[in-house]
């Protein structure tokens, strides 16, 4: 709308100040949300970055893979259930690794999560560097890129703590972390050999952590009735089952929403003061026949334009900041989150300007005759 824009351009100084506040708020919101998602990806990445419907787990495992073990022979039965399109067994095992030849404990030890998967299954991670497993006798692993930041390279051989078994990094993937530790993926067959096992445990070859299920409208009711000692957790439940995730996430969300609510008040007050200063002007517009609707539309479109531009600047600043952040700092901002938070911020500033709308309708056009004040 012309009137709104003309005023924005004419009173640049005043609007740049309010715009700056919106820029700072949106910048803070985006950075906070990026760091928050980064943190939660650290604790959930292996699961949250994969596409699946749910996991069949051991009963009583509280939907946590690390507490669960089930027999892999169940896989076949699960695939026959309603809505299931694909299944794959998955095993996880937490351990630590160090570089080959550094046994003197001088070199540092890195905590990792070993993940065993069937080759070519849908849970196999995407490769961003190097290549996937090839058939070979050595224990080839795909590692999360966070290990690369720790100084590991493609071709490096790492030694599993306690077992002294050796693994060779052949490729790197991204955002695949679990329990704040980097993931190392290897074929299920090799995984089973690495796991420390007691000889009397005959079943060990057949035991996996869970069976991951892909499909739409998956219905495992009859299966769960038949089988004892298993339960089914949806993707959401298995992510929430990750120790510490729910509390971490709630903290960050609380911070974000508090920030948004407080900014709504700050902006509301700013717009209100601005409207107050323009009482006389609005009185003139009313006296020469401007309707409430005309003035309100003009005020709201002004807030809209100002907020939109400021939020775009905020987004730009955020991406500049990301360039400056150290690699080791987890930052993960998805474009759909940027869009959602931008819309929320836009809605907040427009809504907060509604305080002023009530004020505008009450302005008496008589002010224009210079008597009401």
């Amino acid at each position: 709308m012309g009137l709104a824009l003309k005023e924005l351009l004419y009173s640049k100084g005043r609007f740049i100040m309010i715009g700056l506040i919106i820029v700072l708020i949106s910048w803070l919101v985006f950075i906070l949300s990026g760091l928050g998602t980064g943190l939660s990806t650290l604790s959930t990445g292996v699961l949250s970055e994969a596409e699946y419907s749910g996991i069949v787990l051991e009963e009583g495992s509280e939907f946590s893979l690390s507490k669960s073990s089930v027999n892999r022979s169940l896989t076949e039965k699960v695939s026959e259930q309603e809505g299931v399109t694909d299944t794959t067994p998955m095993s996880i095992f937490r351990n630590s690794v160090r570089k080959e030849g550094a046994e003197d404990a001088e070199d540092k030890i890195t905590d990792i999560v070993l993940i065993g998967l069937e080759p070519d299954s849908f849970m196999e991670p995407n490769i961003i560097k190097g290549e996937a497993w090839s058939n070979s006798d050595e224990n080839q692993v795909i590692a999360d890129e966070s290990l690369e930041n720790d100084g590991y390279k493609i071709g490096d051989t790492v030694v599993l703590d306690n077992t002294d078994k050796e693994l060779t990094i052949v490729g790197f993937t991204e955002n695949k972390t679990l329990y704040h530790q980097s993931a190392l993926y290897l074929p299920m067959e090799n995984f089973q050999n690495l796991r420390p096992s007691s000889p009397d445990d005959a079943d060990v070859e057949e035991t996996v952590s869970g069976i991951v299920v892909q499909g739409t409208d998956v219905n495992l009711e009859t299966f769960l009735e038949d089988e004892e000692n298993v339960e089914y957790g949806t993707k959401e439940e298995t992510i929430e089952g990750i120790p510490g995730y729910v509390a971490e996430n709630a903290t960050i969300m609380l911070m974000l929403w508090f920030l948004m609510i407080i900014s709504a008040f700050i902006l509301g007050v700013f717009f209100y003061v601005l409207t107050n200063q323009k009482t006389n002007q609005f009185g003139v517009l009313k006296a020469i026949g401007g309707s409430n609707g005309f003035i309100i539309r003009s005020v709201i479109s002004q807030v809209f334009i100002l907020s939109l531009v400021s939020i775009l600047v905020g987004i730009g600043l955020t991406y500049l900041t990301v360039l400056a952040l150290p690699e080791s700092m987890p930052f993960y901002l998805e474009s759909n989150m940027v869009i959602i938070y931008s819309l929320v911020l836009l809605a907040i500033s427009v809504l907060s300007s509604l305080f002023s709308v009530a004020k505008i309708t009450k302005i008496d056009p008589l002010t224009a005759l210079g008597r009401a004040e």
Partner: protein, 230 residues
């Protein structure tokens, strides 16, 4: 008949327990092409009169006819539309919008009515030219002199091609020469464009441009005999 007519208008302000009668049984009729002045001492009810005539204030008693239409019982929305389409207000100084150029001051009226056409723009430029404001259309109010601002306000009041022009002390912030210039131009516009105009003033020297003069004292209106021969 186009023009404005106030019939037996009374306005009382209630203040605590007191009642102030600002206007008492006032009747006036101003036809198209007439330029009428209202004079009177401070507090006599001039502004009250103008506000009622300009659909800004409702009378306690009596009725107002604008172009033969009784607007006495209109609601706020209808009154706003009357102001937009049938009345041109010339407000006191400093009542221009600070962030609009001289040309935009006029075009905003059209914008409030809907859209701005090429003809509107041509009409605005013509009005500015008539009032000696050519080459000033890109200036902002703070770059204009007081007299220029007042002339912009006059041009703006003609912009919606209203039948009625109301002016509240248009010369109060001008020196004598500028004041004469402005009122003279207003009178010219009223004659050439055939408007009904009412001007409130306490500057007696401006009365020679007017067809009739009313004096208001303590809310009572009476016509001055002196200018009867016009």
């Amino acid at each position: 008949m186009s023009g404005i007519e106030l019939k037996n208008v009374t306005k009382r302000y209630k203040e605590n327990k007191f009642e102030i009668t600002a206007l008492e049984n006032v009747s006036v009729q101003v036809k198209a092409g007439e330029f009428v002045a209202i004079v009177g001492p401070s507090g006599s009810g001039k502004s009250t009169f103008l506000s009622i005539a300009g659909a800004l204030l409702k009378p306690t008693e009596g009725s107002i006819m604008i172009n033969n239409q009784n607007i006495t019982d209109f609601d706020e929305k209808q009154l706003s539309s009357v102001r937009l389409n049938q009345i041109g207000f010339i407000l006191q100084t400093a009542n221009l919008i600070p962030y609009l150029t001289v040309l935009d001051q006029l075009l905003i009226v059209k914008k409030m009515q809907g859209t701005v056409t090429k003809e509107d723009k041509a009409f605005a430029l013509e009005l500015l030219k008539d009032l000696g404001l050519e080459n000033k259309e890109k200036k902002y109010p703070n770059e204009c002199s007081g007299g220029e601002r007042q002339r912009v306000a006059i041009a703006r009041s003609f912009m919606n091609d209203p039948d009625i022009i109301l002016a509240d002390e248009p010369t109060s912030s001008l020196d004598t020469d500028r004041g004469h210039e402005v009122v003279q131009q207003m009178a010219e516009q009223v004659k050439t464009r055939n408007k009904a105009a009412i001007m409130v003033t306490h500057d007696e020297r401006m009365l020679s441009y007017c067809d009739r003069v009313y004096r208001i004292v303590d809310g009572k209106l009476s016509e001055e005999v002196r200018t009867q021969e016009v």
